[in-house]
């Protein structure tokens, strides 16, 4: 099924819209309430990273159907910000380059099934996450 949404994020107001969109899509494919909440929370964290660190970017949300008929949601968060210089450090619990708790990136990774981080200093960051229904 090709059901793709692409939205720009530039401010906190956009994050609210993304949360709502993700919740609707996750509900449509009958994801459990726990998984819906996890996915929405991950979307919230990663979209906020785009706003706070990336200086704005885009979020792409698509519905997936796996080979075995399993359904899922894939979200791609891209920005053209400064990039992440030390990926291992950024994925460490409690380390934050800003004022946050330092759990956004490592926490989001635990909230989803697949997590892929593609970044280069000065070229921006792209994070792709996938969560499947159970």
């Amino acid at each position: 099924m090709s059901d793709v949404h692409e939205v720009r994020v530039g401010s906190s107001d956009d994050i609210v819209g993304i949360r709502k969109m993700v919740r609707t899509i996750a509900g449509d494919i009958r994801m459990s309430l726990v998984d819906q909440t996890k996915l929405v929370t991950a979307a919230s964290e990663l979209a906020r990273n785009i706003v706070v660190h990336g200086g704005g970017g885009t979020v792409r949300i698509e519905r997936l159907t796996g080979p075995t008929g399993r359904t899922g949601v894939r979200m791609i968060f891209s920005d053209e910000g400064p990039g992440i210089s030390d990926v291992d450090l950024a994925l460490t619990d409690g380390w934050s380059s800003g004022q946050g708790l330092g759990l956004g990136l490592p926490g989001s990774r635990r909230l989803v099934d697949e997590f892929e981080l593609d970044t280069a200093v000065g070229r921006g960051t792209r994070i792709t996450v996938t969560k499947w229904t159970r």
């Binding site: 609210v16 929370t41 759990l103 926490g107 635990r110």
Partner: protein
């Protein structure tokens, strides 16, 4: 410098000024037709008279003062209509019907030169029409922003549960602006009521991410600095699991499943015991 919009509309200006009353009558009639009695004829006529005389002045004298005054009056009128819940159509119709008025005047007078000027005049009116749309939209945006702000105030009530115990039931998304309002309201109420205990109930919060958690913890820390104890209640199963997966630690902050449990806990801390009376 000649004004490109008013240049060479002498015949139309001439026609309009000689038959000003008839034009005004017809204009009021046309503009009033779509307004379905939402404004009185006298009121509308007054508004249109002002617009007509300013339009004539700005066309006639190629005068910047008259033009900016016309734009100001028009903006004011559109803004007022937007606030009175007129539709965009009802707002713009007052301007656009002027075209029909002038067209009819020209046909009556049968003046060929005026017909040639009509294209330029029409563009001039379109310009004014666009201005009304712009003002209308800007005013509506302002109305929405004001309402959002009012809602923000409304959506964060602090209620008294017991002598010395207050509660904040949070519903909806917690962002930085809202948390700020909640924190201020809670701390102020603690002072005003002399309370030493507070419950923050998040049953109505759809998702708790690191930002929301951080805001909650800051609020609780601030309350502690004022000597008050804060308890969180209403963390639903899916939110509890998400918080654990994210790795957020609430430390020594007390959390209860429901608002009732939180109240019971705080009452017992305050030395109040609830006893069920056995009847019979």
């Amino acid at each position: 410098m000649t004004n490109p919009q008013s240049g060479g509309q002498a015949h139309i200006v001439q026609l309009l000024s000689t038959r000003q009353d008839a034009a005004l009558d017809r204009w009021t009639e046309l503009a009033g037709a779509t307004l379905r009695g939402r404004t009185t004829q006298t009121e509308l006529r007054g508004e249109l008279r002002e617009l007509l005389s300013l339009t004539l002045a700005s066309l006639e004298r190629e005068d910047d003062t008259a033009r900016s005054e016309l734009r100001a009056v028009l903006a004011d009128m559109s803004g007022r209509r937007a606030r009175q819940n007129f539709t965009p159509k009802e707002t713009a119709v007052a301007v656009f019907t002027l075209k029909q008025v002038v067209h009819e005047l020209i046909e009556d007078a049968d003046e060929d030169q005026a017909i040639n000027e009509f294209v330029a005049f029409s563009r001039y009116v379109d310009d004014l029409g666009l201005l009304t749309f712009e003002t209308y939209a800007a005013t509506r945006e302002q109305v929405i922003a004001d309402q959002a702000e009012q809602l923000l105030e409304l959506s964060t009530p602090v209620v008294k549960l017991w002598e010395g115990i207050v509660a904040v039931p949070l519903v909806g998304t917690l962002d930085s602006a809202r948390t700020q309002v909640v924190m201020e309201a809670l701390l102020q109420t603690l002072v005003d009521t002399g309370s030493e205990s507070a419950v923050i109930d998040i049953t109505g919060v759809p998702a708790v991410d690191t930002e929301v958690a951080q805001h909650l913890m800051k609020t609780i820390m601030a309350a502690r600095l004022m000597g008050a104890e804060c308890v969180i209640s209403g963390i639903r199963p899916q939110i509890a699991q998400t918080i654990v997966a994210l790795g957020i630690e609430f430390g020594d902050i007390v959390s209860k499943a429901t608002l009732a449990d939180a109240l019971e806990y705080l009452l017992s801390r305050n030395g109040v015991r609830i006893v069920r009376e056995v009847v019979g």
